[in-house]
């Protein structure tokens, strides 16, 4: 079976090409489509297994990052999206895509848990490598990633700080096993808000989340930017690794997404 991946490009999206390249490397049948075309014909989603919202600055990040696309998505083709998920599809959001899915309410997928993404504490666009710990015991990534697995993936965003409305909302995220990734320090302990290991001041060091139905996943770090070993920042010091291994940690995440469909 060939996994069919649809990558949605909106005005301001800038990671569609490399995300498509990564999925094509994984032998997926990958298409890039504009958001305006998608909302004209929402049934298009049924021709695909995975819907990906890549990174960028959709609609110029006006109003709030991801807000315009997220709200329009639900207003225009919300029912198709729900059918797509019910039919076994998976939605993934990377960086701006994560912001879109949170604004759309697809993550966490229930009104009972109230979260938002807001401006980084540093008030800067944070473009740096981060270290993540895979946290979930049961997510679409669990087929390939073991709980506690450490990955190196870069971030590049200005509004990546996950906040919850109350501490109870955070408790619900933890209790329902919705946290996919947390930022950690090089020794593998949680960053506990410490900069730069937690690059944005995210609550509980949250870097990625899933929805309650475990079929929508979102993360601020960019797996497609850590796909090949030659994309790693220290590849010149680790040339042996580059010769030996073609793929880096981002590959593991995207492969896990594919495995979820193939399982």
């Amino acid at each position: 079976m060939v996994v069919r991946v649809l990558i949605v490009r909106a005005p301001g999206t800038n990671c569609d090409f490399e995300t498509a390249l990564a999925f094509r490397e994984l032998s997926c049948d990958t298409s890039i489509i504009t958001f305006s075309r998608l909302i004209q014909n929402g049934k298009l989603v049924h021709d695909f297994d995975i819907l990906v919202f890549p990174g960028g600055f959709s609609y110029g990040d006006y109003v709030r990052a991801g807000a315009v696309l997220g709200k329009r998505l639900i207003a225009r083709i919300g029912s198709e999206i729900r059918d797509f998920l019910r039919g076994g599809g998976l939605i993934m959001g990377i960086c701006n895509g994560f912001q879109i899915l949170v604004e759309a309410g697809l993550i966490p997928g229930t009104d009972n848990i109230r979260i938002a993404l807001t401006t980084n504490i540093s008030l800067r666009y944070e473009c740096r490598w981060t270290i993540l710990k895979y946290e979930s015991k049961n997510s679409p990534l669990s087929n390939s990633l073991k709980t506690g697995y450490i990955l190196r993936i870069p971030v590049g965003h200005g509004e990546g700080r996950v906040i919850t409305k109350s501490t109870n909302d955070l408790k619900l995220l933890v209790d329902n096993d919705l946290i996919l990734f947390r930022y950690v320090k090089p020794d593998g302990t949680y960053a506990e808000g410490e900069y730069p290991w937690n690059p944005n001041g995210s609550t509980y060091d949250i870097a990625g989340l899933q929805n309650v139905d475990r079929n929508v996943i979102g993360m601020m770090p960019h797996p497609e930017r850590a796909f090949y070993t030659w994309q790693l920042p220290d590849w010149t010091r680790n040339r042996e690794l580059v010769y030996r291994e073609k793929f880096a940690d981002g590959y593991l995440i995207l492969r896990a997404v594919i495995q979820y469909i193939l399982k």
Binding site: V63, A67, K71, A116, L123, K165
Partner: protein
């Protein structure tokens, strides 16, 4: 009737506002030491065509709830500025 409605969106008071904090430190550098705190916000002006002030207010409120403000992190206020 056409109403101009001013909508102001602010980060909730209990949340850290990096933009306000940076502005405050800069203003203190500029010698304006009397300023004790700065909170940032965003203002939208909506031109609403409807029958009454109350209705215009209601529509603006819906606009805030559904798009302009994020209830998790924002608070907002609505003011009818003018009617023609």
């Amino acid at each position: 009737m056409r109403y101009i409605v001013r909508v102001e969106i602010r980060l909730r008071k209990d949340l850290h506002d990096p933009e306000g904090a940076v502005a405050l430190s800069c203003l203190q550098d500029l010698g304006l030491r009397q300023i004790r705190s700065v909170r940032s916000g965003k203002v939208y002006y909506l031109e609403v065509e409807t029958n009454s002030k109350e209705e215009a207010f209601k529509i603006a409120d819906e606009a805030c709830r559904r798009l302009l403000a994020n209830p998790v992190k924002d608070e907002y206020s609505i003011e009818i500025v003018s009617e023609t």
